[in-house]
């Protein structure tokens, strides 16, 4: 063990950063330091120049660092020293980063005043005021804490996306995918909503709408204020409302059928985008145990049930009773939801019950029973939803929207890995995963007998899938949680794994013996 200590203390060895990398980190930290100064209300002569310098320094530092880290080396997998570096192996730097990020999220969600948010029409101060010029440039409005967050978030995806592009410059799939998340973040999540805000006037108003942020990830999409807002904004608003419904009920199933959930989770989604870029250095920290997998299945599906109940209750609460005024009444809506859930439940139980594990069946039956019971109770006059809609909404927003996706999901990157939210919490991932497991052309195939069980694939799976367990049996990987990032295939030293879309037939192929052995023995062992 003494050698371990030497490693950490020795300054000049390869497990540490190079001099240029240290300088580059310094430049980036200087940029962050300017933001911290702003936080403490230091008065800068020009906010726009100061902000430009701060963000410019952060970007320059990151780009310089990435160039030095990757361009000097040959193309190929470069995970050297990942488990020696403090930041990426739950060392001191990792913990400090985790705590700093977590604190930032707590302040962001619960104490924006501390960031300088002007309350009740007061002008912004501090950090948020520093972002006023940029916000005014884009939307014409002063900044909010969400604008500051959105800007930093987009910047993070862009600069760490650049780093990722260099790291995987030998891998076209990784490059295209990363280019895609960078584009969707910059255009759809950041610029378009700001420009849309410019269209708003006294007579026309659209809510903030990131078009790629689909319900149920965007759990507030069908809340009353948004729906009212959209409906009152005429055709454009109605179009957006319909798009929101089509996104989840039409576009999502079609694309997931064709390509698996990856089309969203690692090509489009903003949460996924941050995880794949800024979070890439932490992917190896995900828990691979079967216990974690079990926890994941229960938690993520519970969140899905929660969001379905919450949304149903919220929509129900603002609908009317009188069908002569509008066809969609409380009752029609409630029966539609119950009907849709019954169709999905019955369809899966009829056609796919063989593919469900025992706990999946129990869970499905249990949750279905709960939802139907609640709806029935309501119909028998207990009016459960009516009283609890607001409570449900605010607790979901607090527990899932803020604590889970933000504070834990991102703040804990350096501790639990970069996909904690996507794996354990995201209801959108649960829906997509449910479909991916049961009804999609996507799978990861393995290459005959070439697997040497080295474990690079499992180590670098950000979703905690024990990829090796499948690869060493020659079994396709068809897992709900797989976001199709392709890194298992990239890090495999023997060319064993490939992400593919192919026919549904034979997609799931449990085997216990690999190609290469006596053909009779293979037949004997693989017949089921």
């Amino acid at each position: 063990m003494s050698s371990k200590i030497d490693q950490n203390l020795s300054l000049a060895n390869s497990k540490q950063l190079s001099t240029k990398q240290k300088l580059a980190s310094g430049v980036g930290i200087l940029g962050l330091f300017i933001l911290v100064l702003a936080l403490f209300n230091v008065n800068f002569p020009s906010r726009s120049i100061t902000l430009t310098i701060a963000l410019g320094l952060i970007a320059t530092g990151a780009i310089w660092f990435a160039n030095n880290a990757y361009l000097s080396k040959s193309k190929g997998i470069k995970n050297d020293g990942v488990w020696f570096k403090s930041i990426s192996s739950r060392g001191l730097v990792g913990w400090i980063t985790g705590i700093a990020l977590t604190s930032f999220y707590i302040v962001l969600y619960f104490k924006p005043v501390w960031l300088g948010m002007g309350i009740d029409g007061a002008s912004n101060t501090g950090l948020i005021a520093l972002f006023d010029p940029l916000s005014k440039l884009l939307s014409g409005n002063p900044a909010s804490q969400w604008f500051v967050y959105g800007t930093l978030y987009t910047l993070a995806i862009l600069i760490f996306g650049y780093k990722f592009l260099l790291k995987y410059r030998h891998n076209k799939y990784e490059q295209l995918r990363t280019g895609s998340v960078m584009f969707f973040q910059l255009a759809f999540a950041f610029l378009i909503p700001e420009f849309m805000a410019r269209l708003n006037s006294d007579t026309f108003s659209l809510p903030y709408y990131d078009l790629k942020n689909i319900w149920p990830l965007n759990y507030y999409n069908f809340e009353q204020y948004r729906v009212d807002n959209l409906i009152s904004a005429g055709d454009v608003g109605l179009g957006l409302l319909i798009f929101g419904l089509v996104s989840i009920f039409v576009i999502t199933p079609i694309l997931t059928y064709k390509y698996g959930k990856r089309w969203y989770c690692s090509w489009v989604c903003g949460c996924g985008g941050l995880a794949e870029t800024a979070g890439d250095s932490f992917r190896q920290l995900s828990d691979k145990s079967t216990f974690a997998w079990k926890v994941e299945r229960w938690v993520v599906h519970s969140v899905l049930v929660f969001v379905v109940l919450m949304t149903t209750a919220v929509v129900y609460s603002y609908l009317g009773d009188d069908s002569s005024k509008y066809w969609l009444t409380k009752n029609v809506f409630l029966y539609s939801v119950a009907g849709l859930l019954t169709v999905v439940f019955a369809g899966v139980m009829l056609f796919k019950h063989k593919e469900l594990g025992k706990d999946a069946k129990l869970g499905a039956i249990g949750y279905f029973a709960i939802i139907i019971a609640l709806i029935a109770m309501h119909q028998f006059g207990m009016r459960l939803f009516y009283f609890e809609a607001e409570t449900l909404r605010s607790s979901y927003g607090f527990l899932i929207g803020s604590i889970f996706s933000g504070v834990i999901g991102t703040g804990f990157y350096p501790i639990f890995g970069n996909r904690v939210w996507c794996r354990f919490g995201c209801p959108m991932a649960a829906i997509l995963g449910f479909q991916q497991r049961l009804f999609s052309k996507f799978r990861i195939t393995t290459n005959g007998g070439q697997c040497i069980s080295c474990g690079n694939c499992s180590t670098y799976c950000e979703m905690g899938i024990d990829v090796r367990a499948y690869a060493q049996k020659g079994e396709n990987i068809v897992r709900s949680s797989c976001v199709g990032c392709g890194v298992c295939s990239a890090v495999c030293p023997r060319g064993v794994l490939k992400l593919e879309n192919d026919s549904m037939e034979g997609r799931i192929n449990p085997t216990s013996i690999l190609l290469g052995n006596d053909v009779d023995l293979m037949d004997l062992l693989n017949q089921k």
Binding site: S3, A12, K15, K75, G455, E500, G516, D518, L524
Partner: protein, 434 residues
């Protein structure tokens, strides 16, 4: 209940144990002195490089063994007493078996070089070898140069490992070109260039004469046979192949040669004793395969087969078409069927060779010059499908068919650049010029 004892918890022994458990309720004990739990030896390099931690190299969680009632015993077997079916351990413990599986793997070759047992001279095979390397070469301060002796797959892995810690490496290769006893010329030379591009001091056609002592029993330098040059270094990697790890069997009446001699059922000359994996030696070669195969997947396959025999379904070890893979720094290599180097090539074997301009991708297809039958392919930097080549070999396709259908065999990730057209064009041009 019948007690199956397996010596060695590598891939061979563990596979045998797993399959015996699937097929039966026999009592199973795995004996090992190396580690508490099975790990993937092939991944040792990634621990030193910082890609993984040791725990990541363990394919099964620690609770797996108890759950599957596979007993693990830590200890080193000193002798096997076949008459009384008893294992004697170095700490004088004993263990009785009904059936014994010897799966003790290999140890690095040492060819009697002066100084080969000095501190700092080591192979890279076991977990202990890795620990020694971590101690002797933690960084480029403690180890200012390492010399690697032997240009094979482990040698180049060791070079890559040391390179990640910026330890300068001199790589002594006996052959005139890297691994050219196995690889055809074009491939071997491409790898030479690739090694040098990683700033590794590759010395071809160079032998080790002696390793010198610094006076305290540690490595000080090596002397080159051909030139007498002395290269100061503190670590010497001995990677000139491996040999079966069976010294403990010499006093027993189990018949051994280089390895434990076994028949096609993997039985030794003594009833109820079997040998599998790196340490087993076939009495007669199977096809073109070597009698001792120190390859990951052959160990696994022998374990799969032997489990059948032990559980009552007596079965020959009858491996399918030869295949293998490796990675040379950044270049992945796969092979299916037989492609021989110029040194070992039979007369009838002809090659079609294609190399990409970037000098990191190439393929060599071997075929019979008279019948055009496809014999095998080596592929560098392009992933290919095992299943497809296995099928083509079984179907006895000819070289034209293979080249025209190469697209079906591609296994590169989506959106990767494809080279089938280029290869086909090249093939046609070669034919016209031939």
């Amino acid at each position: 209940m019948e007690h199956i004892v397996i010596i060695g918890n590598g891939i061979s022994g563990v596979t045998a144990a797993r399959h015996i458990r699937k097929l039966s309720d026999k009592k199973i004990t795995i004996v090992s002195d190396e580690t508490d739990y099975f790990f993937s030896r092939t991944a040792l390099m990634y621990i030193y490089m910082g890609h993984m931690k040791f725990e990541h190299t363990q394919p099964y969680e620690n609770h797996f063994w108890k759950k599957n009632r596979i007993d693990l015993k830590k200890g080193r077997v000193k002798t096997v007493e076949t008459a009384s079916k008893t294992l004697h351990f170095e700490n004088n413990e004993t263990l009785l078996y009904d059936k014994l599986i010897i799966a003790t793997g290999s140890k690095p070759n040492k060819f009697g070089w002066p100084g080969q047992d000095l501190k700092g001279a080591q192979g890279l095979y076991s977990k202990q070898d890795l620990d020694t390397l971590e101690e002797m070469a933690p960084d480029n301060k403690a180890c200012q140069r390492a010399v690697i002796v032997g240009g094979g797959l482990i040698g180049i892995e060791l070079a890559e490992m040391l390179n990640t810690r910026q330890i300068p490496v001199t790589f002594l290769v006996r052959e005139t070109s890297f691994w050219n006893g196995v690889l055809p010329k074009g491939e071997s030379e491409m790898i030479n260039r690739h090694i040098k591009s990683h700033h590794i001091d590759l010395r071809l056609g160079t032998n080790l004469k002696a390793i010198k002592d610094d006076g305290s029993g540690r490595v000080k330098s090596v002397i080159i046979e051909e030139t007498g040059e002395e290269i100061p270094c503190t670590v010497v990697g001995l990677t000139a192949g491996v040999t079966p790890n069976i010294d403990f069997l010499k006093p027993s009446n189990i018949e051994i040669d280089k390895g434990v001699l076994v028949n096609r059922n993997l039985e030794t000359n003594i009833k109820d004793i079997y040998a599998i994996g790196d340490c087993a030696q076939q009495r007669e070669a199977i096809g073109q395969r070597r009698t001792i195969e120190a390859v990951w997947y052959t160990g696994r396959m022998m374990g799969e087969v032997l489990a059948q025999t032990i559980c009552g379904n007596t079965m020959n070890y009858n491996p399918g078409h030869w295949f293998n893979s490796a990675k040379f720094l950044d270049i992945e290599y796969q092979t299916y069927g037989w492609v021989y180097s110029e040194k070992n090539k039979p007369d009838y074997e002809h090659h079609f060779h294609w190399k990409h301009d970037d000098d990191t991708k190439c393929i060599t297809i071997a075929f019979h010059k008279d019948t055009n039958a496809f014999l095998g392919i080596n592929t560098f930097g392009i992933r290919m499908k095992h299943e497809v080549f296995d099928r083509w070999l079984t179907e006895k396709r000819d070289v034209d068919y293979v080249i025209n259908h190469l697209r079906e065999a591609n296994f590169d990730p989506e959106f990767f650049k494809r080279f089938e057209k280029d290869i086909l064009e090249n093939y046609r041009n070669t034919l016209q010029n031939a």
